[in-house]
């Protein structure tokens, strides 16, 4: 398989996955806000940082109020982290992959993009929002199913699975980050109930509540929920599971030894963390570091399998010195570098 095609299909998968998870992200924030006592509601602005799009947002004319932020996250075509932006880039990549992707997938993605664009104005209305986001999640799940059911297990499939799982690990960590941004005093007794409800919401937004109950068989607690979404080895949206998958698919490729090293580092970072002892700021920092690890794995994949890009090299340099704040800025840069057609 051509390196250029490998890169396109990898990004195709990442953007599809990102669109779905962005919908989950907006959903979880909306639910969390409704459950918190008004004086503790942090609003929508934290999502801008969590999705790593602060620079783009500041450069836009938009203000920090709900309507503008939600529009930015759902509908901004030029924001590659927005739902519509992700879909657009997925589609532009798919256009160059007509000889690799099953025809139905191309047709379906096309159709979905048109529909979503059309329904967008309604979806910015709070009452319609949930249904709209639900539709996107379902649509993406259907596409994923079509790919699963009709694509040969060839190199293209392998690259697609790398993209999907790496993006999913990254986005799950960002969704957890939404929770860590709610600066509710952790020890406060009157808020303990809220705390539990919020972890339930987070699990639900990852479609993981049921699977959590089957696995944990205890009431939802912060530590157990974190353990599940970060480190479970069976739940397909848990960060550790996704990284395991990346490893499985990497083994099918030549010249993967170097990436395997970075992947092992990411996995042991996840495994060795003392989740129980992380307070909210500690959790936030932990997630930043996890994302940094994920990005190193991405860079390794790019170096081994994609055609060399001058920009990507320069960016890698920047990232070796990156603190967590720079990492998020780099995320935006990385998105813009990604081929879209």
């Amino acid at each position: 398989m051509l390196s250029r095609v490998a890169e396109n299909i990898y990004w195709f998968a990442r953007y599809l996955e990102r669109a779905e998870n962005s919908a989950r992200l907006v959903n979880v924030n909306a639910n969390l806000l409704l459950d918190l006592p008004p004086e503790y509601r942090p609003g929508w602005l934290p999502l801008i940082d969590i999705t790593g799009s602060r620079e783009l947002f500041d450069a836009s004319e938009r203000r920090a109020e709900e309507r503008d932020v939600v529009h930015f996250l759902i509908a901004e075509l030029d924001n590659p982290g927005s739902i519509l932006g992700s879909l657009r880039f997925a589609r532009e990549n798919a256009r160059t992959l007509r000889d690799v992707l099953p025809n139905e997938v191309w047709e379906h993605l096309n159709e979905l993009f048109m529909e979503i664009k059309e329904e967008l104005p309604g979806a910015l209305n709070k009452r319609m929002r949930f249904k709209f986001l639900q539709k996107i999640i379902r649509g993406m799940q259907t596409l994923t199913g079509e790919l699963e059911g009709t694509m040969s297990r060839n190199d293209a499939y392998t690259l697609m699975m790398l993209g999907r799982n790496l993006e999913r690990a990254d986005m799950t960590s960002r969704i957890i980050d939404v929770r860590s941004a709610q600066l509710v005093p952790a020890e406060s007794a009157e808020l303990t109930n809220f705390d539990t409800i919020q972890w339930v919401n987070l699990l639900k937004s990852l479609s993981g509540y049921q699977m959590y109950r089957l696995r944990a068989r205890t009431r939802v607690s912060r530590a157990a929920a974190l353990e599940f979404v970060l480190r479970d080895t069976h739940f397909p949206r848990a960060c550790f599971f996704c990284l395991q998958e990346v490893g499985t698919f990497l083994r099918a490729l030549p010249r993967s030894a170097a990436v395997m090293g970075s992947l092992a580092a990411a996995c042991s970072f996840l495994k060795n963390a003392d989740l129980e002892r992380l307070d909210q700021p500690g959790l936030h920092e932990h997630i930043d570091l996890l994302q940094l690890h994920i990005n190193v794995v991405h860079q390794g994949i790019a170096r081994s399998f994609f055609p060399p890009h001058v920009a990507a090299e320069a960016q890698m340099q920047a990232q070796t010195t990156s603190a967590s704040v720079e990492l998020r800025a780099a995320r935006v840069t990385r998105l813009e570098d990604a081929p879209a057609g």
Partner: protein
């Protein structure tokens, strides 16, 4: 409601399906009967079904100049097929093979001894002044001595029924994918006819193309690595590039995927590392192939490609320089080439042409501009032409000045009134003008498509069949008849 063919007026024209008396021609009898039974309303329903199928199958072509940059448009197909009897087609196919054989002999001769010039059949100055003559190609020996592996020859039928060759496209002719897809669609919407008539299949083209390309591989052991080289997704024929790559099961590459290494071989960059390429079916013009020897500003090509090709380390189809015979002034000599190289009489005639480079012809052209079509020798797609009968005095004066200034750049031909085929327009059936582009593959053996791509001018009376200018297309049936 059945169709009354007596009101179908194609007076003074040659219609491909309906004879002069209003009755169906032999090869089209079954079709005409079937259409009459269906009636206009049902034909309309089937036409819609065809358009839907084309959308679902994603058969598109790209148009640039509209707002929003380049967009994919659904391929326009009229479901009423154009029919040619197998008997007539066999003669045309033989004529095409003969023609392409002579053209390949000519190109090889041009880049070697130029015997045809020495023997006084072809003037030297035309070679030197041809825009597509490539000095780099002199002395190169492509495999099997073939330069134009894929040729798309445009045929037209005049009102007296004679089939003429209008031009030979020897560079990167396109349209063959639409020929195959048209058949897929028409089979779906007019299945009854395929059951009752013997319509020859068209879909063996990708297999024949693959076989021909494989025969060019410089390495003789193992499976050859064949690629299709495209300028990218914004090219108007990208659909076809992607389609042919898919059908042949080979990689669709862009220039940036390829590199010429120190051993002067071509490699493509894959996730497994660099992989040697044997044959490139290139859909990029000569000018852009190699920035080292052609246009330095080309970002579509591959530096060093010409070197690798000249050394025989990679095969290019078509070979660079094959376009020298695309020149319309060269075209006027093809019948002479057939006699010279093959010692045969041409089976298919050229459209009678005047060479403005010759003083006597030029004088005739200048005096008869009102009746003639004047064409630039290196133009295509109908651009830069003078249509005499429709022209104004001012346009004729301008053209006369151009002709006198650069006579080498023009030829002139009488107006050919293209034949017509019944076509579904405005909810009814009317005659519309068509041409035909068959494709000829030259390798160890010569292959001619069964029929070709029929293009149809949809506006009433129009002779412009280009899809970028409102043209449509038709499925082309070669039908075996009893007698």
């Amino acid at each position: 409601m059945s169709i009354d063919w007596t009101t179908y007026r194609a007076s003074g024209l040659h219609d491909e399906l309906i004879g002069p008396g209003g009755g169906a021609r032999a090869a089209g009898r079954a079709l005409i009967r079937h259409l009459s039974e269906l009636g206009c309303a049902e034909i309309g329903v089937r036409q819609q079904a065809a358009e839907l199928a084309i959308k679902v199958m994603g058969v598109t072509f790209t148009v640039y100049h509209e707002q929003g940059g380049s967009i994919d448009r659904a391929w326009p197909l009229d479901i009423i097929p154009r029919i040619i009897s197998a008997k007539e087609w066999n003669r045309i196919a033989a004529g095409l093979k003969q023609r392409v054989a002579a053209l390949n002999n000519f190109i090889d001769d041009v880049y070697h001894a130029q015997r045809i010039v020495k023997d006084g059949v072809f003037p030297l100055e035309i070679i030197g002044s041809s825009r597509n003559f490539r000095p780099h190609c002199v002395g190169v020996n492509p495999p099997q001595g073939v330069w134009a592996h894929i040729c798309g020859t445009d045929l037209v039928r005049d009102k007296d029924g004679t089939v003429y060759v209008l031009e030979d496209n020897l560079r990167v002719p396109s349209g063959v994918s639409y020929m195959i897809e048209n058949r897929q669609v028409v089979k779906r919407v007019l299945p009854e006819l395929f059951e009752s008539s013997s319509i020859l299949a068209v879909d063996d083209y990708p297999a024949a193309l693959h076989e021909m390309l494989a025969s060019l591989a410089p390495r003789r052991q193992g499976l050859p690595e064949i690629v299709v080289l495209t300028p990218g997704i914004y090219n108007s024929a990208y659909f076809e590039h992607s389609y042919l790559a898919r059908q042949m099961g080979c990689e669709l590459v862009e220039g940036r995927d390829l590199a010429v290494h120190e051993d002067d071989c071509v490699y493509m960059q894959t996730i497994h590392g660099w992989r040697r390429v044997d044959v490139i079916y290139r859909r990029i013009d000569d000018d852009f192939l190699d920035p080292e020897s052609c246009r330095a500003d080309s970002t579509l090509g591959v530096p060093g490609l010409m070197r690798a090709w000249a050394k025989g380390n990679v095969a290019l189809a078509n070979a660079p320089g094959a376009g020298v015979a695309d020149d319309k002034l060269v075209y006027t000599y093809v019948p002479d080439m057939i006699r010279y190289y093959l010692d045969e009489d041409p089976i298919l005639p050229n459209v009678p042409s005047w060479r403005c480079s010759q003083p006597k012809d030029l004088e005739h052209v200048l005096q008869n501009l009102e009746q003639l079509v004047v064409k630039p020798v290196d133009g295509s797609g109908g651009y830069g032409m003078l249509m005499g009968p429709q022209s104004s005095q001012r346009e004729r004066n301008q053209f006369a000045a151009q002709l006198k200034a650069a006579p080498r750049n023009f030829i002139a031909q009488p107006v050919i009134t293209l034949s017509t085929v019944p076509t579904f327009v405005n909810e009814r059936i009317e005659p519309r003008h068509v041409d035909l582009r068959p494709f000829i593959l030259s390798g160890p053996s010569t292959y001619v498509t069964t029929g070709g791509l029929t293009r149809v001018a949809l506006p009433e009376g129009s002779l412009v069949v280009n899809s970028s200018q409102g043209g449509g297309s038709k499925d082309t049936w070669i039908v075996a008849t009893e007698n």
